[in-house]
């Protein structure tokens, strides 16, 4: 007899936004902001629209940080661990 699997798709969204997952995203964003340097700040993880995922961000808050991003790709380096 064939087994049928019915996916509970709402559950995937719940897993993707578990408090533990959001905390992990916050930790990654904060570490990335620290590596990127002064003027970069982590924004706390929030659930996205659509497929509902957790998403944190790192933003350049100061002119110096914006310049560091534009001239030497500070965020790419920070994500890549350089």
């Amino acid at each position: 007899m064939a087994t049928q699997i019915k996916l509970y798709s709402k559950g995937f969204a719940e897993i993707r936004t578990f408090p533990k997952v959001m905390k992990m995203l916050d930790d990654i964003a904060e570490a990335t902001a620290r590596r990127a340097g002064e003027g970069f700040e982590a924004e706390p993880a929030k659930p996205t629209g659509g497929r509902v995922r957790g998403r944190a961000a790192v933003v350049a808050r100061t002119t110096d940080a914006m310049r560091a991003q534009a001239k030497s790709r500070a965020l790419e380096r920070a994500i890549g661990g350089a």
Binding site: R67, A70, K71, R77, I79, G81, A82
Partner: protein, 133 residues
């Protein structure tokens, strides 16, 4: 016996791969003054060791438009061309993985704060296999 493992220069390899395809200068260090025409800048921005014999580099590519009135469209066209060629890079020892792992994100528009020249920027994941000494 200890065997030495070495990896090639991913920036140099990227430059050598791209230059004949995009038909503009491909540089690593920005020259002073900047070239007046469109060009690509290659920048190694990090990466990770996947296993003993494989590294995944993050290579950031800045596609600069020239200084004329069509600088914006030059930068865009160069960005699209670079995006396509990098995504199709497959050789035995160096390659860009297929699908969504090819790039960190799609190309984004960016302006150089000093010269105000338009650029399209992307970061590719370039995998490189070991070279035995």
């Amino acid at each position: 016996m200890v065997e030495a493992l070495t990896f090639g220069n991913v920036e140099a390899d990227t430059m050598a791969y791209l230059e004949p395809l995009v038909l503009v200068d491909v540089e690593r260090v920005l020259s002073d003054p900047l070239p007046p025409g469109p060009f690509v800048r290659v920048l190694l921005t990090g990466g990770r060791r996947i296993n003993l014999s494989l590294i995944e580099h993050r290579v950031t590519l800045e596609c600069w438009g020239g200084t004329g009135t069509d600088a914006d469209s030059q930068a865009f066209t160069l960005g699209q061309s670079t995006y396509g060629h990098m995504g199709a890079w497959r050789t035995d020892s160096i390659w860009v993985p297929e699908g969504e792992n090819a790039f960190v994100g799609s190309p984004y528009a960016d302006v150089d704060p000093d010269t105000k020249r338009p650029r399209y920027v992307m970061t590719a994941n370039v995998r490189q296999a070991v070279t035995h000494l």
